[in-house]
C-alpha cells in the first residue's frame, strides 16, 4: 500500500481528495445534437397541493374499474403499483374523451383539461407577474389566456414519462414550486403512456422487478433509437435529457449507487435474520427512526430570494460537514455556475435588444442572438448535467459512508442528506423557473404552439431531475442502515 492510501478516509477533512472534478469521459460526440419530434401534448394547471389528487379521484369515480390507488399509495416504490395506477389513469383519460368535448382533438389534451391545467406559459408567469404583463403587451396574449389551453405539439421526450414512472418518490413530500413539477411529472407519464408503445414495453420491464437504472437505460436506448430513426424535422432540434444525463455519467453513478444500496440491503437483511427477541426489536426500532428521516420533508420555495453561486457552495459545504464527509462537489458547483453564467448572458442580450428597440426604428426586425430553441436546449443540458452531478454526489457519499468509520450518527447523516436533497431540488426548481421566465420573455413574439412545448419540456425535465435526486436519496437508506449497524458493535 502506498502512503497515498491513508488520505482517503472520509473523516479526514483536512485533505479533500475527491475526484468530482474530473471531466465527463464519454467521448461519443454523436450524441451531442440529437433531433427529434415527439408528438405529445401537455398543458397542465399548477395544482393546489391537495386538490390535485382530488380531481383525479373524482375522475376515478366516473370510470368503472376501481384502481388500487389507496394501497398503492402506501408503497409507491413497488413497480407494479405504477402499472395499475397508470392503467387507471389511462382509462380516466379515455373516459374523459367521451364526456368532455370542446373540440380538443386528442385524449391527452382532454385529460389535461379535465385535470384543470393552465398553459405552461401561465405556470411560469406565476412567479413573474411583471414579466407576464410585459410579454402580453407584446402580442402574446394568446399564450396567456390561461384556462383554455390551446393544443400544443409537445417537447416531451418519452423518457420524461419513464423516469417519472419509476420514481419511488412520495416518501419525500415537497410543497411549493416543486410540488407543481412533481404533479406534472407523475400525471404526465400516465397520460403519455397511452400513445407510447415504448412506454408500455417499459411497464412490462417494471413488472419484472428490474432496477431503476436498468429501466432508465432501456428508456434512454429507445430514445436514442428514436433519435436515429426520426431524421425528420431539423427545425425542431430538441434537446434530449436522457442522452445528456447518460453522457454526463448520471446513469452510471445511479447504477453504481444502486449496486451499493442493494448490497447494503442484503447485509442488513441477513443481520436482522440472525437476531431475535429483544435484540432484534431494539435494532428494528433504531432502523425505524432512521427510516423516518427518509420519509417526510417539506419545504416551500415560493418566496425565496434567488440563491447565488456562493450561497449554494456554502450550503453544500455545510452539509458535507454535517455528513462528516470530505468532498468538494466541484463538478456540481461548476455546472451550476456555467448554467447561470449562460442565463445571465442571454438576459444581458435581451436587455440590450429591448433598449435598442426603444431607441431605434421600431419597424426594424429584432435580431435575436439566442432563439427560444437555443434557450430550451441549453436548459435541458443544464438540468441533465446538474442532475448527473447530483447522482455523483450521492454515489460518492454512499461510497465514503461505506468506506469510513461512522464518525457521526446515521440519523444525523440521514438528516443532512435529506437537507441535501431539498437543496438540490430547490436548485433544480430555481433553475427551471429562471429558464422558463427567460423563455417567456425571449419568446414573447413566438406563437404559443412554439413556445408552450418548450416551456413544458423544461418543467417536465425539471420534474424528472427532482425525481432522480429523490430516488438517489432513497437509495442511501440501506447504506446508512448498514453503517449504523456496523457502528453499534
Amino acid at each position: 500500500m502506498s502512503k497515498k492510501d491513508n488520505c482517503e478516509t472520509p473523516g479526514d477533512l483536512s485533505k479533500p481528495q475527491e475526484e468530482l472534478t474530473a471531466q465527463p469521459k464519454d467521448s461519443s460526440p454523436v450524441e451531442e445534437k440529437p433531433i427529434v419530434t415527439e408528438p405529445v401534448t401537455i398543458t397542465r394547471k399548477r395544482p393546489e397541493s391537495k386538490s390535485s389528487s382530488l380531481s383525479i379521484e373524482e375522475e376515478e369515480s366516473h370510470t368503472s374499474d376501481k384502481p388500487e390507488q389507496d394501497s398503492a399509495a402506501k408503497s409507491p416504490s413497488s413497480w407494479g403499483y405504477w402499472g395499475s395506477w397508470g392503467k387507471s389513469l389511462i382509462s380516466t383519460a379515455s373516459a374523459t374523451v367521451a364526456t368532455v368535448g370542446h373540440g380538443i382533438s386528442t385524449a391527452i389534451e382532454k385529460a389535461e383539461s379535465t385535470l384543470g391545467v393552465p398553459s405552461p406559459v401561465e405556470l411560469s408567469f406565476r412567479d413573474q407577474p411583471e414579466v407576464a404583463e410585459d410579454a402580453s403587451t407584446r402580442e402574446s396574449a394568446e399564450s396567456t389566456e390561461g384556462e383554455t389551453s390551446s393544443p400544443i405539439s409537445g417537447a416531451l421526450g418519452f423518457l420524461s414519462s419513464i423516469s417519472t414512472a419509476v420514481q419511488s418518490t412520495g416518501k419525500t413530500v415537497i410543497t411549493g414550486g416543486l410540488d407543481a413539477l412533481e404533479f406534472i411529472g407523475k400525471r404526465t407519464m400516465d397520460v403519455i403512456a397511452e400513445g407510447d408503445p415504448g412506454f408500455k414495453k417499459t411497464k412490462g420491464l417494471m413488472h419484472r422487478n428490474t432496477t431503476l437504472s436498468h429501466v432508465l437505460r432501456e428508456a434512454k436506448e429507445r430514445e436514442e433509437q428514436r433519435v436515429n430513426s426520426d431524421v425528420t424535422t431539423e427545425t425542431e432540434r430538441q434537446a434530449h435529457y436522457g442522452l445528456l444525463f447518460d453522457e454526463y455519467q448520471g446513469l452510471s453513478h445511479l447504477e453504481a449507487l444502486e449496486l451499493l444500496s442493494k448490497e447494503s440491503e442484503g447485509k442488513v437483511k441477513s443481520i436482522l435474520g440472525a437476531l431475535s427477541g429483544e435484540e432484534l426489536a431494539k435494532l428494528k426500532q433504531e432502523l425505524e427512526s432512521l427510516k423516518e428521516v427518509f420519509s417526510l420533508e417539506e419545504f416551500d420555495d415560493d418566496e425565496e430570494v434567488e440563491k447565488g453561486d456562493e450561497d449554494f457552495i456554502k450550503e453544500l459545504s455545510v452539509l458535507f460537514q454535517d455528513l462528516h464527509i470530505s468532498m468538494r462537489p466541484e463538478k456540481l458547483t461548476n455546472a451550476r455556475k456555467a448554467a447561470y453564467r449562460w442565463i445571465n448572458k442571454v438576459e444581458e442580450e435581451e436587455k440590450k435588444l429591448m433598449a435598442e428597440e426603444e431607441s431605434t426604428d421600431p419597424k426594424e426586425e429584432e435580431q435575436q442572438k439566442y432563439t427560444v430553441e437555443d434557450i430550451h436546449e441549453s436548459a435541458i443540458r443544464s438540468l441533465a448535467e446538474l442532475t448527473a452531478c447530483s447522482m455523483e454526489v450521492f454515489h460518492k457519499t454512499a461510497t465514503l459512508i461505506l468506506h469510513g468509520e461512522a464518525s457521526v450518527a446515521a440519523v444525523s447523516r440521514g438528516k443532512a442528506l435529506s437537507q441535501m436533497t431539498i437543496t438540490l431540488c430547490k436548485e433544480i426548481s430555481q433553475l427551471s423557473k429562471k429558464i422558463t421566465t427567460l423563455l417567456t420573455t425571449s419568446g414573447a413574439s413566438e406563437k404559443s404552439d412554439i413556445l408552450n412545448p418548450l416551456i413544458t419540456g423544461v418543467f417536465l425535465e425539471a420534474s424528472n431531475s427532482a425525481s432522480y435526486i429523490q430516488d438517489a436519496f432513497q437509495l442511501l437508506l440501506p447504506v446508512l442502515e448498514i453503517s449504523h449497524i456496523q457502528s453499534r458493535t
Binding site: M1, S2, K4, D5, C7, E8, T9, Q17, E18, E19, T21, A22, Q23, K25, D26, S27, S28, V30, E31, E32, K33, P34, I35, P197, G198, K201, H214, R217, E221, R222, E224, Q225, R226, V227, N228, S229, V231, Q249, S252, H253, A256, L259, L260, E263, H395, K396, T399, L400, L402, H403
Partner: protein, 211 residues
C-alpha cells in the same frame, strides 16, 4: 448514437498502476500524469467498431486500495470484461495478481473475459517484471496479455479493443447469454424486438442518423 452491443468493463489492479490513466488515454486520447485518487469507481465510455458493428464500451475504473476492496467488489457483477492491470516497474503489483484474479473470478460471471495488462512499458529502464513473466502468468490462468503504456498510448487501444473482440467472439459462439444482463452485455436499440418503436426500420441501420 445507436450501437449493436454495449459491453461493460471493469478495470482492476493495485493502486498506482495506471488504471485511471489507461481509461483516460482510451476515452480522451490524452495522458494526465497527476490526478486525484479514485474514490470507489469512476466511469468512461467510448464507441468502437468490431466486425463492422458499433460497440459501446461502458468502463468502470475502480479504486485499487485495499480499503475500497469490499466496495469495488459490488461492481464486478455484471461486467463482460475486466482489465487486470499491474505496473512493470513495481514487482509487488505483479505479486498481487493472484489475489485480484481470485477476487474477480469469485465475484463476477464465469464468462467474463479478463485481459492482463502490464502497464508503464515506456519505463523500460525501471522494469522489474519481465514480459515473459506476464505472459506466463496469463497463459497459466487463461488470460489475454498485453504490455501497454498509458503515457505513450502504446497498445492502449488494442488492449480495450482486443478484449471486446474476445467478448464478441464468445457471443458469436453462443457462450454468452446476451439476454442475461448479468453478463455485462446489452443488445443495442436497433436489435430490439418486434413491437418496440422503430423496429420497422430493420436491422441494418448504421446509427448516427442525426447531424
Amino acid at each position: 448514437m445507436a450501437y449493436a452491443y454495449l459491453f461493460k468493463y471493469i478495470i482492476i489492479g493495485d493502486t498506482g498502476v495506471g488504471k485511471s490513466c489507461l481509461l483516460l488515454q482510451f476515452t480522451d486520447k490524452r495522458f494526465q500524469p497527476v490526478h486525484d485518487l479514485t474514490i470507489g469507481v469512476e466511469f468512461g465510455a467510448r464507441m468502437i467498431t468490431i466486425d463492422g458493428k458499433q460497440i459501446k464500451l461502458q468502463i468502470w475504473d475502480t479504486a485499487g486500495q485495499e480499503s475500497f476492496r469490499s466496495i469495488t467488489r459490488s461492481y464486478y457483477r455484471g461486467a463482460a470484461g475486466a482489465l487486470l492491470v499491474y505496473d512493470i516497474t513495481r514487482r509487488d503489483t505483479f505479486n498481487h495478481l493472484t489475489t485480484w484474479l481470485e477476487d474477480a473470478r469469485q465475484h463476477s460471471n464465469s464468462n467474463m473475459v479478463i485481459m492482463l495488462i502490464a502497464n508503464k512499458s515506456d519505463l523500460e529502464s525501471r522494469r522489474e517484471v519481465k514480459k515473459e513473466e506476464g505472459e506466463a502468468f496469463a497463459r497459466e490462468h487463461g488470460l489475454i496479455f498485453m504490455e501497454t503504456s498509458a503515457k505513450t498510448a502504446s497498445n492502449v487501444e488494442e488492449a480495450f479493443i482486443n478484449t471486446a473482440k474476445e467478448i464478441y467472439e464468445k457471443i458469436q459462439e453462443g457462450v454468452f447469454d446476451i439476454n442475461n444482463e448479468a453478463n455485462g452485455i446489452k443488445i443495442g436499440p436497433q436489435h430490439s424486438t418486434p413491437g418496440s418503436p422503430g423496429s420497422h426500420m430493420g436491422g441494418q441501420q448504421a446509427g448516427g442518423g442525426c447531424c
